[in-house]
């Protein structure tokens, strides 16, 4: 395994340095500063805002929602994340482009809502089945 780790590490450093050197060679210094600012800001926003918010939600769920129902609620929230992450920028930008581009012409608010609704229904059905099964087995 040590050999593989060394090979991957050395290859990784070489590719990384190739990218950094070429960024330095082909992108003006003042622009690179902005790239660095965006890069660091992305880490700060993710680790300092998004992640703590997610942890906060999970702590609240743990305190407020019983285990059985929480499983399905957590599943719904996790499945909703990709839809919201992609859908929200599209909602914000919908209608902003010339019609000839055929770009962002849809009502993404309704579309995202529909997809979230599907997930909610799926999880509610799963939860209802679970409750019914537990009752039939005398566990609920």
């Amino acid at each position: 395994m040590l050999i593989w780790r060394l090979v991957l590490g050395i290859l990784g450093v070489l590719v990384l340095v190739y990218g950094l050197v070429n960024l330095g060679l082909h992108i003006p210094g003042s622009t690179l500063v902005w790239v660095a600012v965006w890069l660091v800001a992305a880490v700060i926003i993710h680790h300092g805002v998004v992640s703590p918010a997610v942890i906060g939600v999970s702590v609240l769920l743990r305190r407020l929602v019983p285990d059985r129902g929480r499983r399905y609620l957590q599943a719904a929230l996790i499945a909703a994340v990709p839809i919201l992450v992609i859908g929200i920028p599209m909602i914000y930008r919908q209608g902003s482009q010339p019609p000839s581009m055929a770009l962002l012409l849809q009502n993404f608010t309704a579309n995202v809502g529909f997809l979230l609704g599907l997930i909610a229904v799926g999880c509610l059905v799963g939860y209802a089945v679970r409750v019914a099964r537990d009752r039939s087995l005398g566990r609920g």
């Binding site: 990784g12 190739y18 082909h26 902005w34």
Partner: protein, 411 residues
């Protein structure tokens, strides 16, 4: 049964398990859902997605700077449409996948002490580059698909070179984490060590240090549940957005940025005439200048008279959308040969538009099959589609299918 790592595949997992003292206020994580086993599986999916994005991205960049000895092929005609469709779809899917992966290892951020050694500081710096470059690459790529460019740099150059930073960081990260990855993938999902802010080699309760233990109880969602829910959400995004490239799915494209069939003449416009500052007045006295050993000029009437060649050539765009289209026009090779060139020539095509890519070179197989199009899907080209003349060639990025052509040079 729990799969307990051996000292041979986990060389560091024999460390004495004593948690280091830390302040009471220091964040702690007790969720049993997070595990090296879960992270390793998410990481494997992420590595596959990044590899796919990188390779298709290289193919896309090659459209900008093809080498003389390796010209762009003209077949399959749908090649670029496919690879760029995959590139964008994979990139979109990777955004939530990355966020879920980062959630799974978030406790690692709070190891105590935070800067315990030079090695840890170097590792943290490399992680900042890894996480930051991936987030930046994916987010700006997605914004580019939405034609939203709030960042003050040339997208193509930064996106291209930053891709190497991402891939290099990922390779380095895999090299550093290989023992954990191996343990994570070899361990049953439900049974793997719980991932907290305490490193496994300092956690006396980890399987690695305590031997065979029952799988930790997950009162809420299980680890498999996290993977399943993530897969459902990401699949939903892919299926409802891929319609911009895979036309039969356009009808269910609830999250598809573009609806190609709604474009004028059945094809979307990436750059409008207004953006390129081209208007009816601009092209009022239009002629086509053909430069080469035997230069000549074609008037609009001559171009339209000679536009008899027809071809079905798919359009594939850097934004990931694509659609098939019927074109009519002049064979570029015929125009080039009349100017003294040949199929071996390198040809530069210039637009009268302002900004964007105004010039593009074409040579090799694409030159022999290229059209100078006057008609699209049975109608005269609209101004937004490049009237009076645009370049189209099989397996060629739409951004290099120069519109509003005013000059052709045999180099």
């Amino acid at each position: 049964m729990t799969t307990t790592p051996t000292s041979s595949d986990q060389p560091n997992r024999t460390a004495v398990p004593f948690p280091r003292a830390r302040p009471r206020w220091w964040p702690s994580f007790d969720s049993t859902v997070r595990s090296t086993a879960l992270t390793a599986r998410l990481g494997r999916a992420l590595a596959i997605a990044i590899s796919l994005s990188f390779l298709t991205g290289l193919l896309s960049y090659y459209q900008y700077v093809p080498w003389s000895w390796l010209p762009l092929p003209a077949s399959p005609a749908w090649g670029y449409r496919l690879t760029q469709g995959v590139h964008v779809a994979t990139g979109i899917a990777t955004i939530p996948l990355l966020l879920i992966k980062l959630w799974s290892i978030y406790p690692n951020t709070f190891r105590w002490p935070p800067f315990r050694s030079v090695r840890r500081v170097v590792e943290l710096l490399s992680l900042v580059i890894l996480v930051g470059s991936m987030l930046l690459q994916l987010v700006t790529g997605f914004l580019r698909v939405l034609n939203w460019l709030p960042f003050p740099w040339d997208f193509v150059s930064v996106h291209y070179y930053l891709a190497y930073v991402v891939v290099g960081s990922v390779l380095l990260h895999i090299g550093v984490k290989l023992p954990d990855i191996r343990y994570g993938l070899q361990t049953k999902l439900a049974a793997g060590d719980v991932l907290t802010e305490v490193p496994w080699n300092e956690n006396p309760d980890s399987h690695s240090n305590a031997g065979d233990l029952p799988a930790p109880v997950t009162p809420g969602i299980s680890r498999r549940g996290v993977l399943t829910a993530s897969a459902i959400g990401i699949a939903a995004v892919v299926v409802t957005s891929i319609g911009q490239a895979l036309n039969p799915l356009e009808r269910i494209g609830l999250l598809a940025p573009r609806q190609p069939s709604l474009g004028p003449q059945g094809v979307p416009v990436s750059r409008t005439a207004e953006e390129a500052r081209v208007s009816a007045a601009t092209i009022a006295d239009w002629t086509l200048q053909v430069d080469g050993p035997r230069p000549y000029t074609l008037t609009l009437a001559e171009v339209e008279e000679q536009a008899a060649a027809e071809a079905r050539i798919p359009v594939g765009a850097v934004e990931g959308w694509g659609i098939n289209a019927s074109w009519r026009g002049l064979r570029l090779l015929g125009v080039v040969e009349r100017a003294g060139g040949s199929a071996d020539s390198r040809v530069r095509v210039t637009s009268l538009g302002v900004g964007g890519i105004r010039r593009s070179q074409i040579f090799g197989p694409q030159l022999t099959r290229a059209l100078l199009a006057t008609h699209l899907n049975g109608e005269r080209l609209s101004l937004d589609h490049g009237y009076p003349l645009r370049l189209v060639a099989p397996n060629r990025a739409e951004v290099h299918s120069i519109k509003w052509i005013t000059q052709i040079e045999v180099l």
